[in-house]
Symmetry: C2
Subunit: 236 residues, 2 copies
DNA sequence: TGACTTAATTATGAATTCAAAATTAAGTTG
DNA sequence: CAACTTAATTTTGAATTCATAATTAAGTCA
């Protein structure tokens, strides 16, 4: 059953905003599972808040696509569907491409050095086959490029979509082959960034997003095929 | 003072969602003015609802950037700033470019005919100097291209950003010269769409967004310069 | 009078309450 | 005992209440 990892009560500053963040984390970490009902009462107890701010947060999460509100039936964690993945990644591709273009125009040497460090650490985690660490650093690199691009609107648009795709993180594993390719793509990304080659960085980032899409869709299709065998586990 | 145009009470289905829509309309129509405080109590009375669903809607509007929540000071309609315009339009450009690419791949002849009709009506409104009608049809054309692109995520991302920029509608007028240019750009857009020339449509849409940006920024800068003269009107 | 302090009022954020809907449990009948 | 009906329980959505913060108004004194 669902159990909160950090049950401490929330500080009372901008309560609903804090709750949005907390529940985002619960969802992308699959502590609240896809398709599951959001346990309103339990969460209120865990967070030590009343239903009012929690429900405010749920409306925001619904507008972000992380939960679905069913009339008189409460909030449900949305499932990552193939259709959604095929919609979101092209958009993310266009946005990341723009972030690459802008980053090449605006990035400082210090920022490049920081990304170079992150990249090295990511390679290390690849060699160690530490997938959690890899994902975490990978995220940080994309975020660092966004920050270097210097467009806050772009950053939040990307992150909103990225969050939705992170729900697939605990569904779709990477194959060894895909992992290797992803690392190669990141080598290119770093190289074009250092060269401040905007157009090529944009193309590479767009391709990178497309590869991610194909990889996740492939996994979801496989999972869909085997699903009936474990249906009892999933439904009950 | 603020006065609701359609004061009828709201039907009780998905109340907060309906309130989000209503308040979006109030904001983009400048019935709730930029920089103004959102009159919670008044709106509750006008809409015939309690504060709970209204405040839920305000959290969603805040996440969309249409209002800003100040701790213990309530919700305030955000102002369209030059910085924001300079951030949002490049993102919109990238998204509309993608919508052009996808539309050229997926659009049907019937959809093209419908857009051709809209285009003709838009030309008519230009000749009549009917700016409201022009804006309205303009919107519809961009939306039709998005629909033809067949990517719901892209559509909602675009529309969220587009909403924010529509707040400038009642601030920034178009000059005759800019209006003429915009019409020319739309001629190109239609031509590339009919030719199903994705890359060129993408480029044109991106350029179109850039022109819009320059036009609005120019206006806002002008307005900023003259602002002190009418400061008393604005502040009081 | 005008700057400052203090009291009354109002608005805000969140908890609580309440009616209606959905779900579950308990009967009931063939 | 399985299918159906009805009653009890729980959950949901929204209104109301309540403590606290912010604002306004009233009073104070140089």
């Amino acid at each position: 059953m669902f159990q909160l990892k950090n049950p401490q009560t929330i500080a009372r500053t901008s309560l609903h905003h804090e709750l949005v963040n907390r529940m985002q984390t619960l969802i992308i970490n699959a502590e609240l599972e896809p398709g599951a009902k959001v346990p309103e009462k339990l969460l209120c107890d865990q967070f030590g808040v009343s239903r009012t701010p929690l429900r405010e947060a749920l409306k925001v999460l619904a507008s972000e696509g992380l939960v679905r509100l069913e009339p008189n039936r409460g909030a449900w964690v949305t499932r990552v569907t193939i259709e959604e993945v095929e919609e979101v990644f092209p958009v993310l591709g266009a946005l990341e491409a723009l972030s690459g273009e802008l980053a090449c125009k605006n990035i400082t040497d210090a920022e490049i050095d920081a990304i170079r460090d992150l990249h090295a650490r990511m390679l290390k985690s690849y060699e160690d086959s530490d997938l959690d660490e890899y994902f975490s650093i990978n995220q940080k690199i994309h975020r660092a490029i966004l920050v270097a691009a210097g467009n806050g609107t772009l950053t939040s648009s990307c992150e909103a979509l990225s969050l939705r795709m992170q729900r697939a993180r605990y569904l779709a594993n990477m194959t060894q082959g895909r992992w290797y390719d992803a690392v190669q793509e990141h080598e290119q990304i770093l190289a074009f960034l250092i060269a401040r080659d905007g157009p090529n960085l944009a193309l590479t980032l767009m391709g990178h997003m497309n590869s991610k899409k194909l990889s996740i869709v492939k996994w979801l299709k496989l999972e869909g095929d085997t699903k009936y065998g474990e249906a009892s586990d999933v439904i009950v």
